[in-house]
Amino acid sequence: MKLKILPPTLRNDKRYISFEAISEVPLCKEDVIPLVWEASLNFHGECKTSKFDLWVMRVWSSKSSDERNIIKGILQCNRSEVSSVRAAILLVNKFKGKRVVFHTIGISGTIKAGIKKFIKLEK
């Protein structure tokens, strides 16, 4: 049987970090998840990472050239731990031996606002 959904007052407060990743090889959502988790576990440790409620919501591929692949995405985290998560993803620098960099584009309270303000999907 499925658990009953918590009332809004008892749910954790969330924030959505819109990010952009530039890499030498194309990345997908399955690559981003371990990158973010590993960076956070290495920098903050297991105990502190457990407070973050990290979740990679969605990833969109953006402009790409031969040497530069850009993706944009949204990361869910706990409202009080936004700066710790930002600090962790700042330290991502390698994926399978190739260089990669994560930049935070902005913070929003909803996914919809994040997409509208920061991801700016091309129609």
Binding site: S83, R86, A87, I89, L90, R99, V100, V101, T104
Partner: protein, 225 residues
């Protein structure tokens, strides 16, 4: 206004501007220095030139500082050796002492050097690059060295500067991300803002009036100053 005073590649200016910086200093090594001429001045983005001095000993350092001071806006000394660290902190012509903790177990700065750096306005650099490039125990060691420098900075009030030491676009980070990262080092918001904004601006201000300085504390004033 955010500045990054340790960028090695002129092609990074565009990327730095996109990430939210208001100016960068393009740093060349003293080993193969030639004044860059492909700098395009922009309205809302400043590019300064600088030199990173690699010295064998304090005498060599003084000679090189003398040689490069007039030619560049920012003079950075590559630290690590304790004698070089000391000579750099004692020289008011030096703007920044870069990574004094390099290849050391301690932070490379003690109370004597901290006092000298404070008197001579030599900024001590905390570089993001070694943090990005290292992992686990080595990164923890560098973080501990950063904390030692911060502890001395709070007592002796020497200028602190946070830079990227970037060679490629994969080394650059946004100023907001750096603020979040520095917050994890228990730096206060004011300390972070002065390291990214006020202290670099002061270096440029001093560099502009330096040619008018006759002796320490006295300078010629031009009409309209």
């Amino acid at each position: 206004m955010f500045f990054d005073f340790h960028v090695h590649n002129s092609q990074l200016a565009e990327e730095a501007k996109r990430l939210g910086y208001n100016g960068i200093a393009l740093i060349q090594s003293s080993r193969n220095y030639n004044k860059p001429d492909d700098i395009n001045p922009q309205d809302d983005f400043s590019i300064w030139t600088g030199v990173e001095i690699y010295a064998k000993n304090p005498d060599d350092l003084r000679k090189k500082v003398q040689k490069f001071r007039e030619r560049s806006d920012v003079v950075i000394v590559n630290g690590g050796d304790i004698k070089i660290n000391r000579a750099a902190c004692e020289d008011p012509r030096v703007d920044i002492l870069a990574h004094p903790y390099k290849n050391r177990r301690d932070s490379g700065i003690n109370h004597v050097l901290a006092k000298e750096a404070s008197q001579n306005n030599v900024a001590i650099e905390l570089s993001i690059n070694p943090m990005i490039k290292t992992r686990l125990s080595l990164r923890a060691k560098i973080l501990s060295q950063f904390r030692q420098i911060l502890k001395l900075q709070r007592k002796f009030k020497f200028p602190l500067i946070i830079t990227s030491n970037a060679y490629s676009l994969y080394d650059l980070r946004t100023p907001e991300d750096i603020i979040a990262f520095a917050g994890c080092l228990e730096m206060t918001h004011d300390e972070i803002i002065s390291s990214l904004s006020k202290n670099p601006a002061d270096i440029i201000k001093r560099s502009r009036i330096r040619k008018n300085v006759i002796v320490q504390g006295a300078r010629t004033i031009e009409q309209g100053d």
